[in-house]
Structures are given as structure tokens and as C-alpha cells.
Amino acid sequence: MAAPVVEVQNVSKQYHRDKVEIRVLSNLSLSIPEGGFVALMGPSGSGKTTLLNLIAGIDRPDSGQVIVAGTAVHSLGESQLAKWRTRHIGFIFQFYNLLPVLTAYGNVELPLLLTKLSSKERREHVETALNLVGLGDRMKHYPRQLSGGQEQRVAIARAIVTDPTVIVADEPTGDLDKQSATEILDLLGRLNTEFGKTIVMVTHDPRAAERAKVVRHLDKGELN
């Protein structure tokens, strides 16, 4: 059994909407080993995305600990957290969230601008990532010139270009047709099996969840 790369220990999280307190996660614990592929399922409002955000270091728990790649994420300051995310997290969004003014190349290169890599090294990394997702011939295309599936593949290339420790995907097939969804899931499967990437994926789609090694269900902020 590989050592856990993600450890969520007794985490609770609540939000305030107007004067209403909404408890999203309740004393939740989760451990994901290195090279794991976990699908988080559950109804809307069950806390899936909140849990994903805590693992990705874009939100903080009210209590408990989130340790990813040996770092207590919850204890980092904003600036440290930003640097940490660049190094350890690759994020894939449901709606791709590519910058429309940049080409596929420019979008994939974005996280690398925060590193000390030279222009030549960045080019090598970007080309590798885009070739990996099968879009080596679409580097100069803008998002509006790509299909939804292609956009999501560019987003995946952006997520993996820094060779992150963990890839977090928030409903990566939620906005795609069946064919494109299959291609994306195939790609995520390859990243996990061939490249050993740890993946945490939120999904509503049982077929997507089938690709994961472990499926966890959340309901009312608790893991079943």
C-alpha cells in the first residue's frame, strides 16, 4: 500500500449565506494513496466540491487538517499557498476556464510563467503536455476555435504541465457530449495508470466514476 499523498483529518466546514449557517462538511476524514484515483460522488450540496477545494488549497477548513504531499495545507499563508498550488496541484474545471485571449499554447504555458524555467524549457514542457493530450497540432488555436472536448484537453494539459503531485478535477465531463467525455476519461485514466498521477475527481456521472479506483459518496457533508 502506497503512502497517502492526501490526508484529510476530521475536517469540518460551514458557510454563511445571509444569516443562515450551512454546514457543508462534518468531521470528515479521507486518505488517498500516491497514484490513487478517487471519484467523489454525491448529490448537489453534499460537499464534494468543497472537499476538492480543501484538497487543492483554494479553501480552508474551519477545523481539522488537510495534508497534501506532506504539507499541512490549512496552515499556509495565502502567498505560500499560491506557490504550493503551482507546484503540487493541477486543477481541471467543469467549464474548462481557459483564457479566451490566449492560444492553447498560451493557456498551457500560464502556470509555467510562475516558475523559473527559461522560455525554451517552457516550450518543451508545453509541447509535451499538448502532445500528451493529442493537441500538438492545435497549439496556435484559440479556445473559440476548439470543440468542448478539445478545450477540456487543453485544460488537462494546463493542469499537468507543471507535473503536479495531485490532479483535482471538478466534474471534468459535466459539460461534454458522450464521445468527448469518454476521451477525457480515457486521458485521465492514462495519466493515472501510465504516469502514476494521483487524481481526485468530483462527478455526478456513474460512468465517469467507474474509471476511478475508489469511489466515495458524500451525503450531507459526511463520507459513506
Partner: protein, 385 residues
């Protein structure tokens, strides 16, 4: 380099909005430059005044005259290096609306106290010999299409009647700011006629021009001149040429002050235009900033993107405004030539306009940046599972 490209591409996203904002800033910067130039033109006489010249006028007011007999008394005062007099003629050529200053001077000697006027020797000879010779500034010559040798009839308002002159010379200026609108002629010409037609007004000059040997003694010499005549019916008020010119500006003080206020209000308008654009831009891109933050970009990066775009738009508007300013100033200068003889852009206006554009670019980005940085990634993405 990539970041600059991103800023540039972002600025081009809403081409119409960006273009209108740039145009708005350009017009505002142009208006700012124009207003500053008008204010500077008003103060031109003050700024161009010679420090070694004093003006002595009647203590009763600028419209009161002084007797030419005061000359010897003033000349005796220590520190007075040279002395001449002038008088305001106040006539018009054909149409009373076509204003230009006509000043009677003490012949060639009178001109010698104004080294900023360049006149050729032939013109000075004629000016000395012919009683009705006139030397005219190039601006007024061009304005009326006069040539050397032309006869010009002025209708006097202060000195009633028709007065015939012959243009014998054109003066130019040692600097671009020299007033080239004056029509200069010999005081004796009007004084001799006054002796016949209105003897009570003969021998009366408008003001004295005193050249002093040391500008540092201006206050003491002024006091000495005024003391000389303090108990006479022709009491004087002596001041530096700059102060004398300032008194004319002061007459229009409210207008000048209003122009200054408006010029700064214009900056406020630019700021609002730019801030509105940047606020809309930042609001539309909150989710993109959240994505960038997710990728590891921090508050400083977001600030750089917003402020960079704001600066780019403001600077483009500023450059365009300064380009617009040149022909506009030329056009306005021609239209207002009678009132602002040297309507030239103050060299400080360009750096002021550039600084204004930069300042607007920075200030317009403050609130949108603060807001974009402050929004959490989760709220920016608007996704709660």
C-alpha cells in the same frame, strides 16, 4: 513578455469599449492641455516680464495719465539706469471688434528698453525720422496682410479722430513667447496733435518704464519713485513689470481661477471614465482571476494585470490626447490671436499631461484590483458543491 501580451490582449477584448475609453481619455487630456495653455497664455506677460524693468503708473488707476514733466525727478533717483514712457492708444482698424494693442512709445529710445523686440536698423531710422511711422509685430502684420510701406488708418477712441500711419518696420521676438501683436508708434505724433486739439491732454503719458541697474533693488527704487510724488496731484504707483502684468491678470482672476478649477475637474472626469471601464472589466473577469489564483498567481500578479491594462489604456489615451492637442492649440491660437498674442504650449504641459495619464491609469486600477484580489477563489469560481 507573455504577461505584457496578456495585458495587451485583454485590453483588446472589448474593442469598442476600450476605443471609446481611450478616446474619452484623449479628449480629456487634450482639454486639460488646452485649458493649461490658456491659463499659461494669460500669465505669459507676467512670466516674460523683465526683472530689471519697473512700471510707474498713476496711483488713481491705469486709465489716469501722468505728466511727462515727472521725467527729470525720476531720472535723479539712485538706481534708475534708463527711463522712457508709453501710452495706450486704444484705437481700432476698420472694425472695433478686431482688437490689437496700439502703444505710443518714446521713439527709438522707447524701443531700446525692450531688447526682446528685434527690429532692423532701416526701420528704426524711419521710425526716428517720420512722425507717423509705425513698427508692427509680425502677428498683426500677418493678420491684416500689411506690408512695409502700407498706409494704415486707425480710429482713436482715447485720442479721438482718424490717425494715419505708415508701416515702416516689422518686429519679431527673441523668444517664441514674445508678444508680436503690438502696433508701436511715436508718442510725439499724438502729443503734437493733442497740443492743438486738446491742450489739456498734451504732455500726458500713460506710464513710465524704468530700467534699473539692479533687480534686487526693485522694491527700494519703487518706493523712492512713489515717495517723490506722494504729495502731488499725480501720485504714482510703481511696481515691477511682472506685478504690473499681474494686475491685468488679476482683473480676469475669476475666469483664470475657473479655468484652473475646470482643468482639474477634467482630470476627475478622465479618472471616472477610466475607473468605470476598469471596474466593468474586473467585474467581468472575476472568475478568470479566480482561475489564475487557482493556478498559483497571487494578488500582486492580479494587480499587475489590472493595473497594466488600466495604464495601457490611459497612456494610449494620453498619447492620443497630446497628439490631438497640437492641431487644436494651433486652431485655437489662430482664433484667439488678438487676445493671446503668444498662444504656445507651456513645455510643462506635456509632462503634466503624461503624468496625469499615468496617475489616472494607476488610480483607476486601485478599486477594481482591490476587489479582484479580495474575492476568494471559491467565490470567484462561484462553485459550491
Amino acid at each position: 513578455m507573455r504577461v505584457f501580451k496578456l495585458i495587451y490582449m485583454n485590453a483588446l477584448r472589448h474593442k469598442l469599449r476600450t476605443s471609446l475609453t481611450i478616446l474619452g481619455i484623449a479628449v480629456a487630456i487634450m482639454a486639460f492641455g488646452l485649458l493649461r495653455t490658456v491659463v499659461a497664455a494669460w500669465y505669459l506677460g507676467v512670466n516674460q516680464a523683465a526683472p530689471d524693468r519697473l512700471i510707474t503708473r498713476s496711483k488713481n488707476g491705469i486709465t489716469f495719465t501722468l505728466p511727462v514733466a515727472q521725467k527729470q525727478a525720476i531720472e535723479r533717483i539712485p538706481g534708475v539706469a534708463d527711463l522712457t514712457y508709453s501710452a495706450w492708444f486704444g484705437g481700432f482698424y476698420k472694425d472695433p471688434k478686431d482688437f490689437f494693442p496700439q502703444i505710443a512709445v518714446e521713439g527709438v529710445h522707447g524701443l531700446s528698453l525692450y531688447p526682446e523686440f528685434i527690429v532692423d536698423s532701416a526701420a528704426l531710422d524711419a521710425f526716428d525720422k517720420e512722425p507717423n511711422a509705425a513698427i508692427v509685430g509680425k502677428t498683426t502684420m500677418d493678420r491684416f496682410g500689411w506690408k512695409i510701406g502700407d498706409a494704415v488708418r486707425l480710429t482713436g477712441q482715447i485720442y479721438p479722430g482718424d490717425w494715419d500711419f505708415v508701416v515702416r518696420g516689422v518686429y519679431t521676438g527673441r523668444s517664441e513667447a514674445t508678444d508680436l501683436s503690438q502696433f508701436l508708434f511715436n508718442f510725439k505724433y499724438i502729443d503734437q496733435r493733442m497740443q492743438v486739439e486738446m491742450p489739456a491732454r498734451a504732455g500726458q503719458v500713460g506710464w513710465w518704464v524704468i530700467k534699473i541697474d539692479d533687480p534686487a533693488k526693485a522694491a527700494a527704487i519703487s518706493a523712492a519713485v512713489d515717495k517723490e510724488f506722494e504729495n502731488s496731484s499725480d501720485a504714482t504707483l510703481t511696481e515691477t513689470e511682472a506685478a504690473f502684468q499681474q494686475s491685468f491678470v488679476a482683473m480676469a482672476g475669476t475666469i483664470v481661477f475657473s479655468l484652473q478649477v475646470i482643468s482639474f475637474l477634467v482630470i476627475g472626469v478622465i479618472l471616472l471614465v477610466a475607473a468605470n471601464t476598469m471596474a466593468m472589466t474586473a467585474r467581468e473577469r472575476i472568475s478568470e482571476y479566480a482561475v489564475l489564483k487557482t493556478l498559483g498567481f497571487n494578488g500582486k500578479h492580479i494587480l499587475g494585470l489590472i493595473a497594466g491594462e488600466s495604464l495601457l489604456i490611459a497612456c494610449l489615451g494620453g498619447v492620443l490626447g497630446m497628439i490631438f492637442l497640437i492641431p487644436v492649440l494651433h486652431g485655437v491660437g489662430v482664433a484667439l490671436k488678438a487676445w493671446f498674442p503668444a498662444f504656445i504650449i507651456d513645455p510643462k504641459t506635456y509632462p503634466q499631461a503624461a503624468a496625469t495619464a499615468v496617475l489616472v491609469g494607476i488610480l483607476a486600477a486601485v478599486f477594481p484590483s482591490w476587489r479582484a484580489i479580495r474575492v476568494s477563489i471559491v467565490n470567484g469560481l462561484r462553485r459550491i458543491g
